[in-house]
């Protein structure tokens, strides 16, 4: 202490004290301060956003802009939510082959983990519907009959009575709902992909949506019975009429030819 005390008037003493004080303050801060920022970068969520951002820059940014703000080729993704990404990318619609109103379903090129990362990134751009969990779209506790009624009121005008799809204007069409993942049906109602209007919770309650998904599962499942058989695509009078004209009239013509045909003749020997 004496040594220290003896040098207290040394010209550099003030500097040493200052450095010491700074080091202590910094050390104490590092030890006790809330360490949010430093740790946050390691959570799964922010890692997913980071990875999603990289995937987005490669696969999506050319149309939707580097920050998802949209360009003349693609709409803004701010506020579309994770559900929209899960639907569009999960069904292979995005990345689209070309911009346009009708983006058909195709083979999905991202795996589930990548889709989740992209969804996490887009969800971070603005609040929007999140990906529904299984309880929301499973058929447990759903009223299939009510679902059919809701489907005919809200969906059948475009998608046909049992979801076989139908034509719209200028070459656009409502796709078939046969073989579509219940999750994707739920997400489509939430987000309104492409030209489909959305059916938010104010329009169709979550229970309504669950009923509709259950109805589609019941009418389009693998084991769904069709008592009459020969649905011919379930599209109604167009295919049925065509079938009737070709095969029904065709059979009548064949029988008429048989009735009136010349019989084989023989020479009397």
């Amino acid at each position: 202490m004496k040594k220290l005390s003896a040098r207290r008037r040394h010209p550099l003493a003030a500097l040493v004290v200052l450095l010491f004080a700074l080091a202590v303050t910094g050390g104490l801060y590092a030890a006790f301060a809330p360490a949010d920022k430093a740790q946050a970068d390691d959570t799964a969520q922010s890692l997913a956003i980071k990875e999603g951002k990289k995937l987005f820059a490669v696969g999506c940014a050319s149309c939707h802009g580097t920050g998802g703000q949209g360009t003349s080729d693609g709409p803004s993704l701010v506020g579309v939510g994770a559900a929209a990404v899960d639907f569009q990318v999960g069904t292979g619609r995005m990345p689209a082959q070309q911009p346009g109103a009708q983006v058909p379903r195709k083979r999905n090129i991202y795996n589930n983990a990548q889709i989740d990362q992209l969804a996490a990134y887009v969800a971070s751009l603005g609040p929007g519907p999140s990906v529904p969990d299984k309880a929301q779209y499973s058929a447990d506790g759903a009223d299939i009959g009510k679902g059919g009624e809701l489907f005919r009121t809200n969906c059948a005008q475009c998608h046909n009575f049992t979801g076989k799809g139908g034509a719209l204007t200028n070459g656009k069409f409502a796709p078939t709902l046969e073989g579509v993942d219940p999750k994707h049906i739920y997400e489509a109602m939430q987000t309104g992909p492409q030209n489909m209007p959305s059916f938010g919770d104010g329009t169709l309650s979550p229970q309504n949506k669950k009923d509709i998904v259950a109805y589609l599962g019941a009418v389009n499942g693998d084991k769904t019975a069709s008592p009459g058989g020969m649905e011919l695509g379930g599209l109604g009078p167009v295919t049925e009429g065509l079938f009737g004209y070709i095969f029904g009239l065709g059979a009548c013509v064949a029988v008429a030819i048989w009735v009136a045909a010349r019989t084989t003749k023989a020479k009397k020997s």
Binding site: A101, L150, T153, N154, Q157, C158, G166, L168, T169, K172, A174, G192, Q194, N195, M196, P197, S198, F199, G200, G202, T203, L204, S205, N208, K223, T224, A225, S226, P227, G228, G229, M230, E231, W258, V259, T263, T264, K265, A266, K267, K268, S269
Partner: protein, 347 residues
């Protein structure tokens, strides 16, 4: 002079064509071809074979009828079976259709085969009678008519004739009066709907009154007037006029000034009934704001006052003036024009 003569048709034909003409006439009746025999006509074994085939077809028909009755009795009505090209079908439907079809077809096929192979196939011409009556009959009918007219004194007693014309002219009026009973006159039903000032808009799916925040841009909601319930006696007739579709369009994207004035912050309410023949239209494309009618492809632009942009519809889709009171959407007035298809007195 000589040129015009050259252009005239040659006059050679008449003199010496008479003899050749008859043989060369392409329209002469060729008569029936000579009859040829079938195998069955000359070979008794072939005839027997045909007989057996016909009998076999009738027998198959009998068996199919028995099978029809058996499957009607035996197969439960809700039995679902898998049959290859048809999928999961009702076993009863399939069995009944197949057996009845076979039973009927075999009767017909047996009869046709019988006629083709065993019944006589010699063609016989049977000439028609002339349609015209003979001169004697004609003369008698005309004489009878003249005598009857004279004896009835129709031409002489003008009072009888005129009163008879009067009676015959009046009698159909009773039928015209009966037409009145075909139904009450439509009164003003075609011009009015259940919407009037202060009626709340109720979501047809959830049956709850709608608030502006329920309706997002790009969404589609169907609404009915408050107080109209699905089990009401007259529900079907009323919803056929009252059905609304609600969409929200960014106000800067609404081109029609009146549409903007009748909307609430971009929420517009349009009649769901097509103005062509009254189909419910709701094939709404949220990016183009076009609504397509599935019946005859009439297309309306909801961002431009419901204007017809394609198809046979005669006038724009009627818009309902809406407003907000106590946080709920409600009608600000009735429809300004009749909804649905045109009618004579619509103007």
């Amino acid at each position: 002079m000589s040129e015009t003569e050259e252009n005239l048709p040659s006059e050679r034909e008449t003199p010496h064509e008479g003899a050749v003409g008859k043989a060369d006439n392409p329209f002469a009746d060729p008569g029936l071809p000579p009859h040829e025999h079938r195998i069955q006509d000359i070979d008794e074994r072939a005839a027997k074979r045909s007989e057996r085939t016909v009998a076999m077809l009738f027998l198959v028909s009998m068996l199919a009828t028995v099978a029809f009755i058996a499957s009607y009795v035996a197969i439960p009505i809700d039995k679902i079976v898998y049959i290859f090209p048809l999928g999961h079908v009702s076993g009863l439907n399939f069995a009944l259709g197949l057996t009845l079809g076979v039973a009927l077809f075999c009767i017909g096929a047996g009869a046709v085969h019988w006629a083709r192979t065993l019944m006589s196939d010699e063609e016989v011409a049977d000439e028609r009678h002339p349609i015209e009556a003979t001169p004697d009959v004609k003369a008698k009918v005309l004489a009878d008519f003249a005598q009857g007219a004279k004896e009835s004194q129709f031409g002489r007693r003008k009072l009888i004739r005129n009163t008879m014309f009067g009676a015959l002219a009046l009698v159909p009026l009773s039928g015209v009066v009966l037409l009145r009973d075909l139904g009450p006159l439509p009164e003003k039903k075609l011009r009015t709907t259940g919407w009037k000032k202060g009626v709340r808009l109720v979501n047809q799916s959830t049956n709850l009154p709608l608030r502006p925040e329920d309706i997002a841009v790009g969404s589609l909601t169907f609404a009915k007037p408050e107080g109209l319930e699905e089990n009401d006696e007259d529900f079907a007739n009323k919803i056929a006029k009252d059905a609304l579709m609600l969409v929200r369009i960014q106000p800067q994207n609404i081109k029609d000034k009146q549409e903007l004035a009748w909307s609430h912050e971009g929420i517009v309410a349009y009649s769901k009934i097509c103005t062509h023949v009254g189909c419910p239209i709701s094939l709404y494309e949220q990016q183009t704001h076009h609504v397509l009618c599935p019946c005859h492809q009439s297309t309306f632009d909801l961002s431009d006052g419901g204007r017809v942009i394609f198809g046979p519809a005669g006038h724009a889709l009627p818009q309902l003036h809406i407003t907000v009171k106590d946080g709920f959407l409600e009608a600000a007035s009735e429809f300004a024009e009749p909804v649905g298809p045109s009618f004579w007195e619509r103007g």
